[in-house]
């Protein structure tokens, strides 16, 4: 049991990295990766919301939708729950931990449209994970997003001071860099 959970965790971080292998959550990956500070903030916020959203959506699927045979409401209910969850977390964090809100606050609303959060929730259901496996998978995926964002931000800070052809500046070079990074991550594929 323990070994399986560790395997799910490692696979979620490296082999099936949310951004670089499954191509989910690209907007924040490209949008917020130009500075290391903001990349750390965004990464932490995503880990937090992804864990919470996975637990909540798993419970909704298994305790409400399945018993009532309402599986076709999956998409609508998940996106609404995630959107309101993000709002709720924002309010709680602002009230309880103002210091944390200073660093995470601006990133929270952006996460609603981060397809990685909804994507991981759907993958958890699709693979038939139980609650513990779903949580571990979400934690690994969040951490994988954090790592990818951090590496990308480090590279982009260096790219700022390099001599890049005019038409490649900004988004194009970021995507080509992400491609090379994804190639490097393919090297993990035999790990588990």
């Amino acid at each position: 049991m323990g070994a399986e959970l560790i395997a799910i965790f490692i696979v979620a971080i490296f082999i099936e990295n949310v951004v670089l292998s499954q191509i989910l959550g690209l907007c924040p990956f490209i949008g917020v990766s130009s500075k290391i500070d903001s990349a750390v903030g965004m990464g932490m916020a995503v880990i937090f919301v992804m864990l919470l959203a996975s637990v909540v959506t798993w419970s909704i699927q298994n305790f409400i939708l399945m018993p009532l045979q309402l599986e076709y409401l999956q998409t609508i209910s998940f996106i609404l729950v995630i959107a309101s969850l993000v709002q709720f977390v924002e309010m709680v964090v602002r009230k309880v931990a103002p210091a944390l809100y200073q660093s995470l606050g601006v990133f929270l609303p952006l996460i609603t449209t981060n397809c990685a959060v909804l994507g991981i929730s759907l993958i958890n259901i699709k693979r038939g994970y139980n609650l513990i496996e779903a949580t571990v998978n979400a934690g690994g995926a969040g951490l994988g997003f954090f790592f990818a964002l951090l590496i990308m931000a480090g590279i982009r800070e260096r790219l700022d001071i390099s001599d890049i052809p005019e038409n490649m500046k900004g988004a194009p070079i970021a995507f080509v860099t992400a491609g090379l990074l994804a190639t490097a991550f393919m090297g993990f594929s035999g790990l588990v």
């Binding site: 499954q22 191509i23 076709y72 998409t75 609404l80 397809c115 038409n167 490649m168 090379l180």
Partner: protein
């Protein structure tokens, strides 16, 4: 803006993917073959048309404060409809697009058009806008898929192409190929824009 301009602005000039930079996740994730790209394009266009028209019809009723949740519910409804339709009539396409069909709901193009266009314009203009943006999205997806399928598998629409099928670079149909092809395509679009002054 004339109806024709309204319809064609999304094809190239304001292309949602290459110029506005919205909806990137599906653009890269399902563009590994032309068949997938066309399937995804049709699904997204259907949702865009449905949500744009519905939101435009209801635009005077929806209270401004809660408009985003309302938009999301409308969009999610149409996503569910197309998800079930594809699963029923084309199980193979449904299997290869996988979770990216339900993920249309968080595709920023659709919410973006709802907020920026359908919420302020008439039903007819919103319909044209939706068709134009949908076709623009499909064109962009097909551009990316054309290079990836040709270089990665040596095929187009599943048909082998003589010269390319000998040593296909498998990496092109995997995630890295998507990023690299897309990066080079935006650079090419910018180069053309700066040369032609478009």
């Amino acid at each position: 803006m004339t109806p024709v301009q309204q319809l064609t602005k999304g094809f190239w000039k304001d292309n949602p993917i290459f110029v506005i930079g919205l909806g990137l996740c599906p653009a890269l994730a399902v563009s590994s073959s032309l068949a997938n790209a066309v399937g995804m394009g049709i699904a997204a266009t259907f949702v865009l048309i449905g949500s744009n028209m519905m939101i435009s019809l209801l635009r005077s009723i929806i209270p401004a404060k809660i408009r985003i949740p309302v938009f999301i519910v409308i969009i999610a409804t149409f996503v569910t409809i197309i998800d079930k339709l594809i699963a029923a009539y084309s199980p193979a396409l449904s299997a290869s697009l996988g979770i990216f069909i339900p993920l249309i709901v968080v595709n920023c193009i659709i919410l973006g058009r709802a907020e920026a266009f359908a919420n302020k314009n008439t039903v007819f203009d919103s319909l044209l806008d939706a068709i134009g943006m949908g076709i623009g999205f499909t064109i962009a997806l097909c551009c990316i898929a054309f290079f990836r399928e040709l270089l990665g598998e040596g095929k187009l629409f599943g048909q082998a192409i003589p010269f390319f099928k000998q040593d296909p670079a498998l990496v092109m149909i995997m995630a890295p190929g998507g990023f690299i092809v897309f990066g080079l395509l935006i650079a090419f679009k910018r180069l053309m824009a700066s040369k032609g002054g478009k």
